[in-house]
């Protein structure tokens, strides 16, 4: 039991909590994607959707790892997309910083063959509301609107090797089966989100 407790601390060790932690109500937002479509969290939840948020920067090596070298995000979404799951990538990087800008992100959607929308959080307010710190930083929101998982996509913090455990896939599997999420929080890894100065 003590070992499990110690492991729990190691998984979530962080300099600060996320803006939201598992169990919190997910902050509502409306953002526009790279194709000009708006997406409102509360509307998706009203439709009974489970929502995955992925913080994104097309030029971050860790995003390249999971979108290009490996198709982690696309494959994780593909496994659940017919089960009422909506996946939204969100870019909170400020204008002039790496990976920012509509044109670059429109190109990224094509380059990475992203099967889900990429939302532009130009002023970073949604990222800060969630406490998004890295790209990627993952949040799974239950259909009830609470944060069911927050943290890393997997357990390999390098920029070039795939982890053995996909935390988001595990959380989605349990959530969709009506079970408690065994690991609701891990420490995210990746590039820092490039918020405005």
């Amino acid at each position: 039991m003590r070992i499990l407790a110690a492991l729990a601390f190691l998984l979530v060790a962080a300099t600060a909590p996320a803006g939201v932690v598992p169990g919190d109500q997910a902050p509502d937002f409306t953002l526009t994607d790279t194709a000009g479509q708006t997406h409102t969290l509360s509307a998706l939840l009203a439709d009974g959707k489970t929502v995955v948020l992925e913080w994104f920067n097309p030029d971050c090596p860790f995003i390249v790892k999971h979108h290009k070298t490996f198709k982690t995000m696309n494959e994780t979404f593909a496994a659940v997309q017919d089960q009422g799951v909506v996946w939204l990538a969100v870019n909170s990087n400020a204008a002039g910083k790496q990976g920012a800008g509509l044109e670059r992100n429109q190109k990224a959607v094509t380059e990475y063959a992203m099967p889900f929308p990429l939302l532009m959080d130009v002023d970073g307010s949604v990222g800060k509301a969630y406490g998004a710190r890295t790209t990627p930083h993952m949040f799974v929101i239950s259909a009830k609107g609470t944060v069911a998982y927050a943290g890393a996509i997997d357990d390999d913090r390098s920029a070039d090797t795939l982890g053995r455990q996909n935390y988001v896939a595990a959380a989605l599997s349990e959530l969709l089966a009506g079970q408690p999420v065994t690991t609701p929080e891990t420490k995210p890894y990746g590039c820092s989100v490039k918020y405005a100065d």
């Binding site: 003590r2 729990a8 600060a16 030029d59 971050c60 910083k97 820092s192």
Partner: protein, 275 residues
Amino acid sequence: MRFRPSFLAPVLMFAIAACGGGDKQPAATATPAGAPAAVAVRAQLAAPDPGTVTVAWTFDLADGWHLYGAGLNDSGYPPSVALTLPDGWRAGPLRWPVPERYLMPGDILDHVYHHRLVLLQDLLPPDGVRPEVATALGARLRWLACRQECVPGQAELTVTIPGRDQALPTAVADLPPFPQPLPAGLVAARRSGATVSIEVADARALRFFPDPDSGPFTDLATDGEAAGSLLELRLREVDGRLGPVRGLLQVEQADGTRLTGPFAYDDPDPNHPGG
């Protein structure tokens, strides 16, 4: 030549010939054709005693770039060194110099090194004495260098340790500050609820650099540095428990000198059994 953002920087391969004797320390720097300029790696050798060879893995960084410390960070990952040792040789752990706090917009906090990072590692020869003949060992260094963008890199080095008849310097020159034990009685610490208070009389400033397994904390971006003699670290409960406070404590004294040494406070709090 600029560091081009790419998934994986090219592997740099070069050999370090450790020339014993003389005043000049064995060292080599290499930036092969096509290699990025953000990070150049080199190694220096020293022999503090006949039974130990100390290698200083040195990363020289271009302006604006940083590498990550081994402690708790919000982003990035620290450099690593994977050794291929000859039979019978053993290697000690990497020893890290004192990092600096690097706070970014959004209260994203990392502990990093700018300009230069030197990692010390002791190599222990078989039978406790350096062999008569030169010995070569291989090392793969991996890192993530960041400024606005982040670029992973790696280099493969071959380090040749000269035979025992060739002298090595007794110490690596020009080292940055490394942690040293803080003077006994300098620091007073107590826990009240979820807050650990650290007090050092007459300090001008206090800073805490957490270990990876420390915390989690409520807001280390705010709490991890304080002007004056009192630093208060608020811990965040997970499953009704509080994690340990472990890492480095830096004491900036009234005259501006800095003492940095290991600090740990993980006594259980009566309000949080098992913490």
